[in-house]
Subunit: 338 residues, 4 copies
C-alpha cells in the first residue's frame, strides 16, 4: 500500500471518535480528510484531537469531496441505510457500523445501491478481528477440533445502556445479540436455519417496561446440523464477559476474558485477580484497528471486504426471528422472516 486512503467520517459520537482515533494514530495507511456530525461541536472536538482538516456541515458535503475515497458511517442506526445509499451513489467505498438497519426492506435497498454502484461495503462486526475469536475461527476452519457440534457464546455487557437508548435500540436482539449472531455464522462457517429464544427481564424492570428484554438465551440450529447457544445479559457486574466455546468431534476450543494484567494476588482470604476489562473500547481496541486496516486494504488492493452486505443482513434476520420466537414461545425458522 503506497498511497494513503482518503477517509471521511460521518458521525462524531462514541464509535465515530474511536474510528477517527484509529485512523489518525494507528493506521498509517489511511488519512482523515473530513468529518461531519449534526453536533458541530462534537465534530470539531474530534477534528482537533485527530488532526482532521475539514469539519463538514452535512454528510452530503463529504460525499461530494473528491479527496474522500471511503466513508465511515458512524451515525445513529436509523440513518445508516439512507447514508449507505447516498455514499454508494457518490461512488464512495463504505464502512458502515452495525446494524445496517432494523428493517430488512431498507437493508435490501441499501445493498442494491451498493451493488449497482460497484463500491465496496464492509459492515462493522469488529469482533471477527479480535485475537481470541480469530483464533477460534482458525481452529474451526483448520479442522483443529474436527467437525463442530456445538458453539456456546457468552456475551454480557458490564451495564445496561440508558433506557432512553434502549427505546431506540431496536431491542436486545438487534442491538446486542446481533454481534453474537455474526460470531455464530462467522465462527461456525454455516448458516443458521432456526432459532429458539428463552428470555426475560432480570436486570432492570425499566427495560421490560420499555418493551425490551435484558437476559436472553438463543438456541441456534445450523444448516450443518450443529447446535448453538447464545447467552446474553445486559449486566455482568464483574465486567465485560465475552467468551466463546466451540466443541467438535476432535476436541474443543474455548476463550477466556481479557484482563488488564496477568497478576494474581493470594492473601489469607482468597486467591484473586483484578476484574476483566470493563469497557468495550478497552476490550476490543485492537479489533477496531484491525477491522479498519482490513477495510483500507480491501479498498486499496481492490479485494473483497471481509464482512460484506450479506453478512450485514443475516444477523438482522436472526434478530427478528429471535424476537418472534420469544413472542410466540416456539422455535422460529429464519425462512419465516425473509
Amino acid at each position: 500500500m503506497k498511497r494513503k486512503l482518503g477517509v471521511g467520517i460521518i458521525g462524531a459520537g462514541r464509535i465515530g471518535r474511536v474510528h477517527a482515533e484509529t485512523v489518525a494514530f494507528r493506521l498509517p495507511e489511511a488519512e482523515l480528510r473530513a468529518i461531519a456530525d449534526v453536533n458541530r461541536q462534537a465534530a470539531g472536538d474530534v477534528a482537533e484531537r485527530c488532526g482532521i482538516p475539514r469539519v463538514a456541515a452535512h454528510a452530503s458535503e463529504i460525499f461530494a469531496s473528491p479527496d474522500v475515497e471511503a466513508v465511515l458511517i458512524c451515525s445513529s442506526t436509523d440513518t445508516h441505510s439512507e447514508l449507505v445509499m447516498q455514499a454508494a451513489r457518490a461512488g464512495k467505498h463504505i464502512f458502515c457500523e452495525k446494524p445496517v438497519d432494523h428493517n430488512l426492506a431498507r437493508i435490501d435497498l441499501a445493498l442494491e445501491a451498493v451493488r449497482q454502484a460497484g463500491v465496496k461495503l464492509q459492515v462493522g462486526f469488529n469482533r471477527r478481528f479480535d485475537a481470541n475469536f480469530a483464533r477460534v475461527r482458525q481452529a474451526v476452519a483448520g479442522g483443529e477440533i474436527g467437525e463442530p457440534h456445538r458453539i456456546h457464546i457468552i456475551s454480557r455487557d458490564p451495564a445496561p445502556p440508558p433506557v432512553s437508548y434502549i427505546k431506540v435500540s431496536g431491542g436486545i436482539f438487534l442491538d446486542m445479540t446481533i454481534h453474537d449472531f455474526d460470531m455464530a455464522r462467522f465462527l461456525m462457517g454455516s448458516e443458521v436455519e432456526e432459532v429458539y429464544t428463552a428470555a426475560g427481564v432480570m436486570v432492570d424492570p425499566a427495560i421490560g417496561e420499555a418493551g425490551d428484554l435484558d437476559t436472553a438465551v438463543v438456541v441456534l440450529r445450523f444448516e450443518n446440523g450443529a447446535i448453538g447457544t447464545i447467552d446474553n445479559s445486559r449486566r455482568a457486574v464483574y465486567g465485560y464477559d465475552q467468551r466463546v466455546e466451540v466443541f467438535g468431534s476432535a476436541g474443543s476450543i474455548a476463550t477466556a476474558n481479557n484482563f488488564p494484567n496477568q497478576a494474581v494476588v493470594s492473601t489469607a482470604r482468597e486467591v484473586r485477580r483484578d476484574l476483566p476489562l470493563h469497557f468495550f473500547m478497552d476490550r476490543y481496541t485492537e479489533s477496531f484497528a484491525n477491522e479498519l486496516r482490513a477495510f483500507a486494504e480491501a479498498v486499496v488492493e481492490d479485494k473483497p471486504t471481509p464482512v460484506n452486505g450479506a453478512d450485514g443482513r443475516a444477523p438482522v434476520v436472526m434478530g427478528l426471528a429471535a424476537r418472534k420466537s420469544h413472542d410466540e414461545r416456539r422455535p422460529v425458522k429464519l425462512a419465516e422472516i425473509g
Copy 2:
C-alpha cells in the same frame, strides 16, 4: 456415630463394586454384611476383595437378614423400583442408584412403599457431593452471586457406552442428562417448569439407529424465572467434561474440570497440560464416598437423607419432557408429563 451401620449390597456390577469398596475402605462408620448378584462369581469377587462375610443367593436373602439395616440397590435400572418396594416392606433403609425407574407410575409405587414403611430413601445423585458442585451450591445458596439468572451445565462423557447398553438405557435424557437435571434443581434451588430440547446424532450413527440421541442441548425455564442450559455429548475426546457456571445479579461462579495433576509443560510448540480425568470413577471418587457417608449419617442419626424420593422422581419427569420436546420440536411444560 458409635455403632457401625450394617449394610447389604444388591448388585456387584461396576457401581456396586464402587460402593462396596467405599464402605469397606473409606467408611469406618459402616460395615458390609452381605452382597447379592445374579452373577454369583461377580458377587464373590467383590466379597473377597472387600471382606464381605456373606454372598447371598438372592436379594430377598439380604432383605431377610436382621444384621442388615440398610441396603444399597446397585442392580440394573429395571429392577430398582421393585427392589425398593421389597426393601421398604422389609424395613430396610434404602440407598438406590439413579434412576429409580424409567416409568413414573412405578416410581410412585416405590415412593409410596417407602413412605408407608417409614424407612429412609436416598437416590444416588452423587454429583451433589462433589467438591466443585457443592461449592457452586454454597455460592448460590449463600447469596455470593446474588439472585441467579442463568445456569449452564456442561456434561460430556469421554466416550459413548456400547450400543447394546444404549438400547436399554432409557435414552440419553434418562441415562445421562438425568444427572444434569438433578444438578439444575439442586444448584438453583428452584423447580423447572418447562424444557426445550435441541438435539441430534453427531457422535455415532449407530446411536441414532438405536433410536437415541448423542448430542443435546436442553433449555430449562425455572419457577424463579431463571433460565438453564444443559450441554450434553456422549463423546468428548479430551476426557470427562463436567462443568457448571451460574450467573447472577451480583456475579458468577464457574467450575473447571479436574485434572490428574497441576503441571503445565511449555515447549517450542505449545503450552500444554495433561488431559482432564477421563473415567467417571476417578472424577467422582470423593463424591461416591461422600454420598454414602451422608446416607450412613442420615440413618444412624435419624435425619432426612440429602437426596430424597422427590429428588429421584423430578429428573425423570424432566427427562421424559426433554424427549417429548425433541420429538415434537416445541417447548414442553413439565405439567404435561405428570
Copy 3:
C-alpha cells in the same frame, strides 16, 4: 500380591496415625498387626480407630512379633536411627520417617545395620509420590523439556510449628528444607555439589531467638551443571504453597498448587477462588498412600525400595551444608560436610 503384609507401627503421633489410617483404609495389600507408643492412650486410640489388634508396651515387643514383617517408624526423630538398628537386627523391613537422624555418624551406623541384616529400608520422602511432582520427574526423565538447566522449588508452610518444636526440630534445613533437598535430587536426577544460603528471620522473632531461621533461599549447584533454588518460608498466609518449576533446553514444566475445588467466583470486586489446601495431610493424602503402597510392593515382591538409605542420607548432608553456608556467608561444597 496375594498374601497380606503384616505391619507394625511405632509411634502414634500425627504421622503415625496417618500411616495407620492409610494401611487400614486404603491399602488392602497390608494389615496392621500392632502399634506401640510411649503414650499408651494415643496408641490405644489409633488402634481402636484403625482396628489394630494389639497395642504393644514397647517397640521391642513389635520387633519380637513373628506376625510383623515390616515396621513403620513414626516416632520422634531422635529415636529413628536407634529403632532402625533394632528393627534391622530383628529382621524387619523398615519404613522410616524422615529424617533418619540429624547426625551423619548415626545415620551411617543405621544404614550399615540395614545392610548387614539384608532388610529393606524406605525413607519417608512422600512428595516423590505426589501426582504433581511425579509428573515433573516424568518430564525431566523422559526428555520432555530437554536438558534441565534450572529447578526452582517453592515450599512454604501455612504456619510455623510451635517454638517448642522448633527447638528440637534440627533447624529449618533438616526439618523443612530436607523435603526440598530430596525433591531437588529426585527431580533433577543429579547430585548437588555445592550450596549457598541466603536466609533470615522474617516471620517470627521467637524463631530467631530459638537459634533458627524462618525464611530461606538455598542455591544448589548440581553435578550436571544445572542450578537450583529452593524458596522456603515458615508462613504463607494463603496456604500450603508447594510448587516446582524445571526449565530446560527444550522447554519447562511448572506445577501449580492444589485447591479444594475448581470454582472461580467473579463479583463486582474481583475474580477469586478459594485458598489452596492448607493442611499437609489434605495436600499430600494420596502421596502418603502411594508411598506405603510402594513400600509394601517392594517388600512383597522383593524389589528395591524407591527411596533408599542413600536417599535418606544425602538431604541431611545438604541441610548441614546449607546451615554452614548461612553461618559463614559463603558457598559450601557438600564434600566439606562428609
Copy 4:
C-alpha cells in the same frame, strides 16, 4: 498538556524506530522534529514512515535545533554517556536508553552534566510501565501483601542475540539482567546491598567462548532484609518469559506471561494454548508508549521523571557486582563496587 513537545531522536536502529513510531502514532502530546543516525538510509526510512520532517547529519545538529526540546538517545550503548553530556549542555531534556554506560565513572560524569544543566533525564527502563509489573508495584507499595520477604524475577529471552552482539553487549548482567536489577529495586522499594551469582553457559558454547554467560541466578540481599532471586536464560524455546512473584507477610502477588490470545484447545492428546508472546516489542508495546508518555508529561508539566539518573546508575553497579561474584565465587557487597 496543551502544547506539543518537540522531540528529536538520535539513533534509527530497532529501539529508535520503536520510539519514533510511538511518538508518531501513539503520543498526541509530542511531535517528532528531527532524527539522526550515522546510517542515513535508516534514519531516512524511519523519517518517511513516521513523518519526521528533518533527517540530521549528526546528533549535534539536533542538539542545536531550537524546536527540539527533548531528545531520545537510542544509539549504541558506547555513545550514550557522551551524548547525554552534549544534550545536557545544549539544554535539552533527555530520554536515554539503558544502560547509560558500562563504566561507572562515565555515568557519573554524565549525571553530573545533567545536574549542572538542570535538564530532565529519564532512563529507558520500560518494564516499570508494563501493566503486570506496575500492578506488582502497586500491591507492594500499597501493603496488599504485607511486608515483602521475597522477590523472584524470571526473565528469559526467546533466543540469544548474535555472538557479535554478545561481544560488545557488556555481558549478560549489563545487557539483560540490568532490566531485572531495575525491577528488583523498583518493585521492592528497597536498595540491594549484596549479590551472589550462580551462572553458567548452557545455551550456546559460543557465548562462553566470547567470555560471557547465558544462564544465571543472582541472589539479592536487600537493605530491608528481603531476599531476591533473578533467574535468567538467553533462550526459552517457548517464548519471552517475563514473570515476577513477590511474597510477603500478608500474601503474595505473581504475574503470568502475556499470550497472543486467551484460547485453550482441548484435543485427544492434550489441553494446550498458543505460545506466549515471543518478541519483546509485542510483549512490551504498551510499556514503550507509557514510558514516553510519562517522559513527555514530566517535561511539559515540569515534574520529576519516574526513572532518574540514580535509577540508571544503580543497576550498573549491581551488574558489575554480579559478574565479580561469579568470577570470585562468593557473595559481593555493592559497596565493593562503588
